[in-house]
């Protein structure tokens, strides 16, 4: 249930960014979440619904996009999709020590009322 912890951090970011943009209400947001974060979208939405109560992001819609877990194989000199969290290259068996994507936990878009369009 780390979704609750993430929701608390997300709210901080949403509030700060909304303030900065001069928004009075956030009605929706888009997140980009790496597969390795193992976030359950429904749980994150439910958690945000709770922590967002009484804030300018109360009831905000959440859209989530999952980023696949990809690592670099030095030996093949190629990017490989990591399956089942096994960090060895499926082609040559070399250890995959550099993660290229899949650990994202990013807020990439927010919409709502107030503020001026850039």
């Amino acid at each position: 249930m780390h979704e609750a912890s993430i929701a608390v951090e997300l709210l901080k970011v949403v509030e700060a960014q909304a303030r900065q943009a001069g928004m009075s209400r956030v009605s929706g947001m888009k997140l980009r979440i790496g597969a390795f974060r193992m976030v359950v979208p429904e749980l994150l939405s439910a958690a945000f619904e709770v922590v967002g109560q009484g804030t300018l992001a109360e009831g905000a819609e959440m859209r989530m996009e999952t980023v696949p877990l990809v690592a670099r194989c030095e030996r093949c000199d190629e990017d490989v999709a990591v399956e089942d969290y096994v960090f060895f290259c499926p082609r040559c068996g070399a250890p995959l020590l550099e993660i290229l994507s899949g650990k994202e936990l990013d807020l990439v878009e927010m919409w709502g009322e107030g503020g001026e369009s850039p």
Binding site: M1, S5, V86, D106, S117
Partner: protein, 222 residues
């Protein structure tokens, strides 16, 4: 209106943790974030480290628990140079914000090594840095050899794994080789120590690693 941005959700914590780390770095103080399931033996391991390295390394511990100061009491009784209990009052992990005020109160020069004993949990603590040099995961053989596969992020972010309670292996179906293999699947260059806090087996190797890591960190002090 619509705002397009790329903002790391955990950035607030990462920033506070980076500030904590800068302060530790200024003093050449090695900080280790110790994580595990509840009951794997974190506090017992720390008690052993403190008494075995007494007179050699001044060890401080920041204890994180949802409730009670039982662990800090044990750490203090073991002879730690510094012990502080954080009660998270429900939160399932320690983060950078929680330890920043504790760091304010500490004499960082009086310590050689600071452990942050996280809340017992294999999930959330993996997401939140505190300002550590290294994350350590303590795993006990009674937890079942499949756990590194079930909690991959925890075993991927931890550079060191300690496998505790190996004295119990003869009584269990758990297979030490499997535990190692599963951990290395998610973290191929994981440093592994097999230990028993009950019999003391394997602890000397870990103490040796601690001594070297402390010396390495001190050498970076400018």
């Amino acid at each position: 209106m619509k705002v397009t941005l790329v903002q790391d959700i955990l950035d607030a914590n990462r920033r506070v943790s980076a500030a904590n780390k800068r302060r530790f770095d200024e003093h050449g103080l090695l900080v280790l974030n110790l994580m595990s399931s509840p009951g794997a033996g974190k506090t017992t391991l720390l008690e052993h480290c403190i008494s075995a390295l007494a007179g050699e390394l001044a060890i401080g511990v920041i204890e994180g628990d949802i409730q009670t100061s039982l662990d800090a009491d044990r750490i203090e009784a073991a002879g730690a140079a510094f012990a502080h209990q954080i009660n998270t009052r429900g939160a399932c992990h320690i983060d950078g914000n929680m330890i920043a005020p504790v760091v304010d109160e500490m004499d960082l020069d009086a310590l050689d090594l600071l452990f942050v004993e996280n809340v017992g949990n294999l999930v959330c603590p993996a997401e939140f840095d505190v300002g550590e040099d290294e994350k350590l995961v303590l795993f006990s053989v009674t937890e079942g050899d499949d756990k590194p596969k079930k909690y991959p992020l925890m075993f991927q972010v931890s550079g060191v794994m300690l496998v505790n309670k190996i004295d119990l292996l003869p009584h269990l179906d758990a297979d030490l080789d499997k535990i190692h293999a599963h951990a290395r699947d998610v973290h191929p260059d994981m440093r592994i120590f097999d230990i028993s806090c009950k019999t003391g087996e394997g602890l000397d190797a870990f103490y040796g690693w601690l001594r070297e890591a402390v010396a390495r960190k001190k050498a970076t002090r400018v």
